[in-house]
């Protein structure tokens, strides 16, 4: 399984579709434990990213990832903008030059993204942030026996698990114990992004 430039663009297109569909849902998640803008932010940023990617020619996946990261950085805003921007930039840097990405490349790239997220957000696993989805997803990529459906499943589980965590970073941290029982909005958008990736990979198999 190898993903090329087109697949990368497809990934962002598919993720965008899911985010647009779930714009209200993501915003609703951000209302009880945030400020009710996450869906709006992500929908604005991904829409712009997809438009930007369509307007250009690319030779390698890392170029797509870099452009996307720049658009997200300058269009999402809030906490999630610089975080996703950083994650995709680190992913892009990790897979630089390669013309296609295999599972190992993706695993390494996403791991670099995760490291970037942690640095940028000064946060760790277990703080009820999108890191709590990126962590398990990276782990899954490193395991043997990769299955797209299982990727989706592990991302979904990770997202669901954020319900049980007390937030200590981001806006949800102000809610302390009251943040329990709510899915972290950033984890939900990350889930959608990985679900899209799984679907792109599945098509290639």
């Amino acid at each position: 399984m190898e993903l090329n430039v087109e697949d990368m663009i497809k990934w962002f297109g598919l993720a965008n579709e899911k985010i647009q569909e779930n714009k209200v849902y993501l915003t609703k998640l951000d209302q009880p434990i945030g400020d009710g803008d996450h869906g709006i932010n992500m929908a604005r940023g991904y829409q712009e990213a997809v438009l930007a990617l369509q307007a250009k020619e690319y030779n390698a996946p890392f170029e797509v990832l870099k452009d996307a990261s720049m658009v997200l950085l300058s269009k999402v805003g809030g906490a999630s903008g610089p975080l996703y921007g950083t994650a995709f930039l680190k992913l892009s840097m990790e897979v630089k030059v390669k013309e296609v990405l295999n599972l190992q490349d993706l695993a390494n790239g996403l791991e670099a993204g995760l490291t970037g997220l942690k640095q940028r957000g000064k946060s760790e696993i277990g703080e009820k942030t999108l890191i709590d989805v990126w962590g398990p997803v990276v782990d899954y990529f490193h395991k043997a026996g990769f299955q797209p459906d299982n990727l989706t499943e592990s991302a979904r589980k990770a997202m669901e698990n954020t319900k049980d965590i007390i937030a200590t970073k981001g806006r949800a941290a102000y809610f302390k114990e009251k943040s329990i029982g709510h899915i972290d909005p950033g984890s939900a958008s990350s889930y959608l992004i990985f679900e899209a990736l799984a679907e792109v990979i599945k098509e290639k198999e």
């Binding site: 009710g36 906490a79 102000y174 809610f175």
Partner: protein, 329 residues
């Protein structure tokens, strides 16, 4: 949702246009951005002060642009921190060669985006310093979490750092005044009603008809507790005492009673009466009082109280001229 808007996705654009139209001699917009700067920017040789954040807190921050206060405000989407490229545009537009101080309210988004902008600006050879305001005592002071929010006390940072910059001080001096203000200012707020982000269309939380939330943040993040609505005196007491517990304000202070958007000025004055009585009781002298809407939360009903401990230096800076429309001194 009842709002006087055209398109929920265009409110910041429309607002910035209307703001600049209203102040054609003092403000200008950096083309194709939501960055508003002093008409005469960059002021050569003066340290520039840049602030900003999500929109919906008007007059913060664009209302504080003017001689003696801010040089630029970066308007993010509603309740959404502006992006690094926008902040960078602001920095570039106002740098007069003496460097730029970023005044950042302590929210993850603001901190991340402004920090990234600062890195980009430094790569372009602009000297940038930053100060992070975290005056909200409703949040526990902790280095393991995001820490305290920046709320209405931020206005004092704008004012005093702005005055210092106007006096011709160096970036280091301006930054150190800003840090001194941050160290000496504490705030706490409360809300009676939620507010609605235009593009979301529904209120971000619920409060029953007889409930209020003490310690509320300016994006509707919750506070210390949600309880039955209390009297103005009780509210003023709760807010003031929590502030006084957190820091020793003995001596002289400036008071800021801030409305969150929908609270009539009448009610703010009623709160102010009690705040004055409480401070008088404790022997704390009030040097100056500000009552009005300084840091709002769209149409949220509620208020916050801020205290700034003053010494001779801070008093002088507080009294210095400011031509910013929302904080004329």
């Amino acid at each position: 949702m009842k709002k006087i808007i055209n398109d929920a996705n265009q409110v910041v654009q429309d607002m910035v246009d209307g703001l600049v139209a209203a102040n054609p001699t003092t403000l200008k917009q950096v083309p194709e951005t939501f960055v508003v700067v002093r008409k005469d920017a960059p002021v050569k040789g003066k340290v520039a002060i840049v602030s900003g954040g999500g929109s919906g807190h008007e007059p913060a921050h664009a209302g504080y642009i003017g001689k003696g206060m801010l040089d630029a405000a970066v308007c993010g989407e509603v309740f959404t921190s502006p992006t690094p490229d926008q902040v960078l545009e602001a920095i570039k537009a106002v740098d007069g060669g003496a460097g730029v101080l970023l005044v950042i309210k302590n929210y993850t988004g603001d901190v991340l985006n402004f920090e990234m902008a600062a890195e980009l600006a430094e790569m372009e050879g602009i000297q940038v310093e930053k100060v992070i305001v975290n005056d909200d005592v409703a949040v526990e002071d902790s280095s393991f979490t995001t820490g305290r929010r920046g709320i209405a006390g931020t206005i004092f940072v704008h004012k005093l750092a702005g005055a210092k910059a106007a006096s011709g001080a160096s970036l280091e001096e301006v930054k150190s005044v800003a840090e001194k203000v941050v160290a000496n200012v504490r705030s706490m707020g409360m809300a009676l009603t939620p507010c609605t982000v235009p593009a979301a269309g529904t209120p971000s939380f619920q409060l029953a008809e007889d409930e209020m939330e003490i310690g509320m943040g300016i994006h509707g993040e919750p506070g210390i507790n949600c309880g039955l609505i209390a009297s103005a005196d009780e509210i003023a007491t709760t807010l003031t005492e929590k502030i006084l517990e957190d820091y020793d304000f003995s001596g002289e202070v400036a008071v800021l009673v801030n409305g969150l958007g929908a609270t009539p000025e009448m009610e703010l004055y009623i709160v102010n009466k009690k705040v004055h009585a409480l401070l008088a009781d404790k022997g704390i002298r009030i040097y100056k009082t500000f009552v009005g809407e300084y840091m709002t939360s769209l149409e949220m009903a509620g208020c916050s109280v801020s205290l700034l401990k003053l010494d001779e230096e801070l008093k002088e800076l507080l009294d210095a001229e400011s031509l910013a429309p929302a904080f004329r001194i």
